[in-house]
Symmetry: C2
Subunit: 430 residues, 2 copies
């Protein structure tokens, strides 16, 4: 987008100009909300959502995008490619900026976010989960393979696996504690099937593919970042006791497939551009990468997203106590950039489709306090956390609520927040 004078960051919707707002005029993330018949696409501005179906109906959007903006999901719009994404973003920016001539027409299409039911705005054909934080891989490795925490392949190849798409749910959907096979104690020979005793969250970022590559083709690394339409927060719920029993030799399966939460808002990559930084330089001890993964200085850029994870126990909720911050982390912690993940995913000719979700894996930083899951924070439960209420947690209890937050901040630019990815644990079904 062309540079604008600072004044043009301002919206006639005054809440959008609050420096603490998640959704200023420069953000404009997409979602969908429930209407009497189905769902409408929308964009967030301040504390409101703007109904894109209604805007298209009123003739306020480019006619070439009318059908896509009146679809129940973003997939049609995403499939139109980066020029269409930019056109819609420019149009919405002008409509919502101070001086817009359409203010009165738009007011009918505005609703309070608090009063709306947000639903998943993207149909996700395939979901891939990576393992892109070397700090996460190392600390998890230390727990299970103290002699060789980081496997020999880690610094050469972005490790990933296929996730379960059907059980992806939107922020706010409660999570049932899953039942699964576990070995009651290490060394036991007979497993049992119980509600998991080691329910964990994983702080991740989800990238949505906006452009397909046909089966048999690869996306070169210098084009890979352009394939990504936007991002959301993602919580990859994990049953650690199930995982450790089932994962040999084919990887995690039912320990993850019971639920994955995503935040309702999809932040366009264009909104993050002012916050792009070079990804951390690799230490000299790191091996040279194969050509298909080698980043030029342009592709090294990643948004400087910071993250927080909060726990609210039932006791905190009932007594109106503040939630507890479990950790803080940053996208800088990743060893692999999103462009590398896309290039690697397609090197074998695998076709990515519009709406496919590529998740980073747990975003853990170098410090213990920047770990993105309880497995690391409590060292697999061996060092439980004591909360300010006196409650103790090795893993999550029924009634616990986990909230992920993500944001970018930079002097001279309005702050951008990804909204939240939040869910409460319900007891296992009897």
């Amino acid at each position: 987008m062309a540079k604008r004078p600072a004044g043009s960051y301002r919206s006639w919707l005054l809440e959008a100009n609050d420096p603490a707002a998640d959704f200023p005029l420069t953000h404009l993330p997409y979602s969908a909300f429930r209407v009497t018949k189905g769902q409408h696409l929308c964009v967030a501005i301040g504390i409101h959502l703007l109904d894109l179906f209604a805007c298209a109906e009123a003739g306020l959007l480019p006619s070439s995008l009318k059908v896509a903006c009146q679809s129940p999901t973003l997939n049609a719009l995403m499939g139109k490619g980066p020029k269409a994404w930019l056109l819609l973003r420019e149009t919405l920016t002008q409509l919502l900026a101070i001086g817009s001539p359409h203010q009165s027409k738009l007011e009918e299409a505005l609703h309070s976010i608090a009063g709306a039911t947000l639903v998943r705005p993207i149909e996700i054909p395939d979901y891939t989960d990576f393992y892109a934080s070397i700090h996460h891989a190392t600390r998890v490795g230390q727990l299970f393979r103290p002699d060789q925490p980081l496997l020999p392949n880690y610094k050469h190849i972005p490790i990933g696996y296929h996730g379960r798409a059907s059980s992806i749910v939107t922020s706010g959907t409660p999570i049932l504690r899953p039942v699964g096979q576990t070995l009651p104690d290490a060394g036991d020979e007979m497993p049992n099937a119980f509600p998991t005793k080691c329910l964990d969250y994983e702080l991740e970022l989800a990238f949505y593919i906006g452009q397909t590559n046909p089966l048999g083709t690869s996306v070169p690394i210098d084009k890979a970042a352009d394939r990504i339409f936007g991002c959301s927060l993602l919580n990859d719920w994990s049953a650690r006791d199930v995982q450790s029993w089932e994962y040999q030799p084919l990887g995690p399966f039912l320990s993850k497939s019971f639920a994955t939460s995503i935040s309702a808002w999809v932040t366009p990559m264009a909104a993050l551009e002012p916050f792009f930084i070079s990804s951390h330089p690799k230490p000299n001890t790191d091996p040279k990468l194969l050509k298909y993964l080698e980043l030029s200085s342009k592709e090294r850029k990643i948004p400087d997203l910071k993250f927080e994870v909060f726990l609210t126990t039932r006791l905190m909720r009932e007594n109106k106590l503040s939630r507890f911050r479990l950790s803080q982390s940053s996208l800088r912690a990743l060893y692999w950039t999103p462009a590398q993940l896309v290039a690697h995913h397609t090197i074998n000719g695998c076709n990515l489709q519009v709406g496919d979700l590529l998740a980073t894996g747990t975003i853990s930083g170098p410090l213990e306090s920047s770990a993105g899951c309880l497995l690391e924070l409590t060292r697999n439960g061996s060092r439980p956390i004591t909360l300010p209420t006196g409650e103790v947690r090795s893993f999550l209890s029924d009634g616990d609520e986990i909230t992920l937050r993500g944001f970018c901040e930079k002097r001279g630019h309005p702050r951008i927040g990804l909204g939240e990815c939040r869910a409460t644990i319900l007891p296992a079904r009897p």
Copy 2:
């Protein structure tokens, strides 16, 4: 279906009564074929396909099923549940049996299979691949973990992982040799990215889920078999050198996701009922299963499917020589039944959706000659196979064609064949 006198097995389409036919009147598998605008559903009879769209248009099918039969995929019909499946099957059987009053009307909806382009008849939301043959698991384990071929979890828990749905292709689609990261030699520290040198097939059976279970619910084992609509042949192409480098710790990823082939015909489970047998009794040394996996005598039943794998090299094709049978196997070789796979997949509340594909994993029998992949047949390439042409194979060469066949035979019942799952290997893209 109600029992019928032997005469009613006969169709007025005489080729369907050939004892060697794959598609007798008692089979009626579904597929889809290309038409000028899109694709139509169809059913196979002898050497013909019957266009279900046209039959519905002519008023020959139950009006309650008209919309579903005029959809481009089977998903709508599958979603209507077992009563609808049976109603359509009964209707088609009557239309195609000797004595049908609609013969002349039907002739317009009949086309030669040989002249049609078959396309994938099912939209597959999620694809799960299991590891249900203990013979496969043991022999693969012997190659990589001679001290512990079968992992401690194998006899307690059906091992599985999420596969890649986007790269599933129909029989006849050529397979590009994939590029991937491998370690050139064991012990090397630096990987390289090359076309795979260890391209393999895997003989599998695909089961299609016909009824959903909502997220958070499990399918009890005594209801699990009823969730399956039908089955097809599946070839889980594998790049073994890529797999051995990438699979730790999260399982196979790009070594499998470049392509998976399925046969075009979907055999309804109802067609296999005459061939159901008890699954092999477990040896006394096997552990007792957890209750959710425990089979009653009714659920032990599996179709007595036999399989063959054929290799046709370019030399054989050019010289019109017979294809070479690499192996023969049987569904009896599985340690886990389809009902157990469904019950296990949902024990954690994971929602299966209409069209989801659950594959068995490589169907290898107890004999070396009944192994379902070259990894086993050639012991990871260390004992190459010499073909009658004098050619030698450790893994697949460019130009090789692999054909999977599957069938049921039993005295007093027409033989049933699953058709074929066939594909030729093309060289890697430059």
